[in-house]
């Protein structure tokens, strides 16, 4: 139930964040030391880290029949790994 609502809320976050991202490639060179972009990327990343495993959860459940607490825990671990790796990347283009 709560998860269901979270999906919607975070979907909004992603899409709001995404709108700014369309010109990210051009701005990549200007990100170093830019706090605005740093904050944006962190927010964007967090939204992605939530959205991607939730989406994959539905795919695994519906197309492969993988469901249950074990899969949920695995997805949380993958989400954390993705988040840590992503934060490293954001930090990488910031400093």
């Amino acid at each position: 139930m709560v998860l269901g609502v979270c999906v919607f809320v975070h979907l909004v976050t992603i899409i709001v964040a995404m709108r700014g991202d369309l010109s990210a490639a051009a701005i990549l060179e200007r990100t170093q030391g830019n706090w605005l972009w740093f904050v944006f990327y962190v927010v964007f990343l967090l939204a992605v880290v939530v959205h991607a495993p939730v989406g994959m959860r539905a795919v695994l459940d519906e197309w492969l029949g993988w469901r249950g607490t074990g899969i949920d825990i695995l997805l949380v671990i993958l989400a954390l790994a993705l988040g840590i790796w992503g934060l490293r990347a954001v930090w990488g283009v910031f400093v």
Partner: protein, 114 residues
Amino acid sequence: MKTDWRARNHPAWWAFLVHRISGIVLTLFLPFHFWVLGMALNEAARMDDFFAWTDRPLVKFAEAGLVILLAAHLTGGLRLMALEFLAWRGWQKDLLAVAAGLTVIAGVVFAYVV
């Protein structure tokens, strides 16, 4: 018994398939994307090598593919939110056309800038 493609052959179902496939591909792309960006931290030279490697037609083509998938996933998601969160009206196919159109535009714009 199960249904087959004949039961699914209508626009909204194809839109779902595009949304799901693009979502899976983008998810698989993310770790790779982060890996390259992470190179900036202490392997800047390697990152430059990588950027040099990307400057070839086939890679550009793949990048355009990713951009189109991202645009398709974004517009497809916006389409779903409009359908489900705004008052219901018979505009599923209009929304679909707009989403597809915006995706094509994103692809064209990307092809133009690279």
